[in-house]
């Protein structure tokens, strides 16, 4: 039953993702969609941690950064193939997440939030200060475009389909995970760690697992980001970026895998459309966030679900008459 609902939403998503470039033919829109898709990969991972397991990471952008810089340095300075660079970045992020999670997740409550907050700051400072390695605050330039198996993803359209494909895989993995014994364990940990333990769930192991998994998703996004823009700078991976990922997860809806996707799309696209209001941009941005949370406390996904129930109710009732 849960499964059928997932398959329908997945089909809708694939059709929409495949169809977007046909409607939004403008290059500029495509590039926004690419960035939204890349961000969504990270937010879906963060949502597994935050929305399902109830663990807070305040330094998730650092995993984006570690992976983006690792791949950038390896491919640009040492001539690694792009795919190898990205995989190295993913592995490094996973190892770092494991090492942070080991001590932090043993403790209770907010220790992960504090540990990841500190970790995010350390990574940010590291990227800024090791100028010979990372280029420092002015950024790292000349990163090669993504290519794999002899195909260069030069056109934005090709890159868009690459990102959409990876995002689809990430969504499928997340959905399958949530509709399983592991997903129930994560949700159980969210409500009551004690009750979860009593049910025989190894709370520490599941928390560590989902933390590392979310770091891996963030790292995949980081690699795709670096090899799309061909330029990275520390400011994209600081505390503000981590916070924005959390806002995307909350605004999209934390109790759904789709929340991450919709939150990322909405908050990546919205500032671009608000740009025409110039000085009012920040005010409008804040206002929209406040209104969304006031009227859709379950996030955009919760709001959409309510709306669809309302519409189908009305249609159904009319048919009965």
């Amino acid at each position: 039953m849960e499964g059928r609902k997932s398959i329908i939403s997945l089909a809708v998503f694939i059709v929409a993702a495949a169809g977007f470039p046909w409607i939004l033919t403008n290059e500029y829109y495509i590039s926004i969609l690419i960035l939204a898709g890349i961000t969504a990969i990270g937010v879906v991972g963060l949502n597994l941690l935050l929305g399902f397991a109830g663990q807070i990471s305040l330094g998730h952008a650092a995993f984006f950064g570690i992976s983006a810089y690792t791949s950038a340095i390896l491919t640009t300075n040492y001539g690694f193939p792009v795919l190898a660079g990205i995989i190295a970045g993913i592995i490094l992020s996973a190892v770092v997440a494991f090492l942070i999670g080991m001590p932090a997740l043993k403790l209770r409550a907010l220790s992960l939030a504090m540990a990841t907050l500190g970790f995010g700051l350390i990574v940010y400072i590291f990227l800024n200060e090791t100028i010979t390695l990372t280029g420092g605050p002015s950024g790292f330039v000349g990163i090669p475009r993504f290519n794999a198996l002899g195909y260069e993803f030069y056109s934005d359209l090709a890159y868009y389909y690459l990102v959409a494909g990876v995002l689809t895989v990430v969504i499928v993995i997340s959905l399958n995970l949530i509709n399983s014994r592991a997903g129930r364990a994560l949700k159980a940990i969210h409500s009551s760690e004690n009750a979860a333990r009593v049910m025989g769930i190894n709370v520490f192991r599941f928390k560590l697992f989902v933390f590392v998994l979310s770091a891996v998703f963030a790292a995949i996004a980081g690699g795709l980001y670096a090899h799309y823009l061909s330029f990275v700078a520390p400011s994209s991976f600081g505390f503000h970026a981590s916070l924005q990922l959390i806002v995307m997860a909350i605004l999209g809806g934390m109790s759904s895998v789709w929340g991450g996707v919709i939150g990322a799309l909405f908050l990546t696209a919205m500032p671009e459309f608000l740009r025409m209001y110039e000085e009012l941009e920040t005010i409008l941005y804040g206002l929209i966030l406040i209104l969304c949370m006031m009227f859709m406390p379950q996030g955009l996904v919760g709001g959409l679900a309510k709306l669809s129930v309302y519409i189908s109710d009305r249609l159904f009732r009319r048919r009965l008459k």
Binding site: F52, N176, S180, R181, S191, N194
Partner: protein, 258 residues
């Protein structure tokens, strides 16, 4: 009590919270297939003993044997895998799940498959999930919640949430279930139903029950053996008949005349 039939054996348990001795030298046993009650005035240490038995708080001295295996230093989830499950005085229903999912979570280790099985949706995933779902539905029927399986867990009224916790606890087919004040907050009718379900848990499922409870009518009607705690010490052990007439117990509950 002969030793072979003893499922749970707590010997000389000491627990200290700062300057307070919460438990001092408590001995407690539960025979296989019995319903053993643990009673005593508020603050006597009943819930503390339950927490020690399930490994949620450490004890400074003493041993806990389960199925003749020493579990004193083992983590809570391992004790659960060994077959020891509890419910909570303050309900700890999994709020982010439906009623059915709550109960399925109770069988976490009974229908096992790996994370990769779930990601790739292997035949093993489907088979285990179907079995797990079936078992959970059976247990819901057992406690009388079969019509509510699809509701969000928090939409259930209080009394039914208690039954839900019970269904969740028995879904993993434990050997021992520890109930912490299951009748708290229930009306007399709900309490009677609960008593019948608890008896059936022992009778039909063969699960040994340890019951912490204040409702004396319930305790006296279903228990085989009663242990009375007061100020962290056992003051009496015996059948319901013995306990009712024990002067020590009456004194602990009502106070003495002088």
């Amino acid at each position: 009590m002969n030793n072979n039939a003893c499922l749970l054996k707590c010997t000389d348990i000491y627990v200290r919270f700062g300057g307070v001795m919460a438990l001092s030298g408590v001995n407690f046993q539960a025979a296989k297939g019995s319903i053993s009650a643990l009673i005593g005035p508020n603050g006597a240490g009943k819930t503390t003993l339950l927490n020690v038995i399930t490994g949620m708080i450490p004890h400074s001295d003493g041993s806990i044997e389960f199925n003749s295996r020493d579990l004193s230093k083992v983590a809570t989830h391992i004790r659960s895998q060994e077959g020891m499950v509890r419910t909570f005085q303050n309900l700890e229903v999994f709020s982010h799940m439906s009623v059915l999912e709550n109960v399925m979570t109770g069988a976490h280790n009974r229908y096992k498959y790996s994370v990769l099985d779930s990601i790739f949706k292997t035949p093993r995933y489907f088979a285990r999930e179907r079995e797990c779902r079936q078992a959970a539905l059976e247990k819901l029927k057992f406690v009388g919640l079969e019509n509510e399986w699809n509701l969000p867990a928090l939409d259930l009224p209080y009394g039914k949430q208690r039954l839900l916790e019970l269904a969740r606890a028995i879904c993993g087919q434990p050997e021992l279930i520890l109930l912490d004040e299951p009748a708290a907050g229930l009306n007399p009718r709900e309490t009677r139903t609960l008593g019948e379900v608890i008896s059936a848990v022992r009778q039909d499922l063969g699960i040994t029950v340890v019951l912490v409870e204040h409702d004396m009518e319930l305790v006296m009607s279903i228990s085989d053996e009663i242990t009375v705690l007061n100020f962290g010490q056992v003051i009496a052990t015996g059948t319901p008949g013995d306990i009712q007439n024990n002067p020590e117990v009456i004194k602990a509950y009502l106070g003495s005349e002088d």
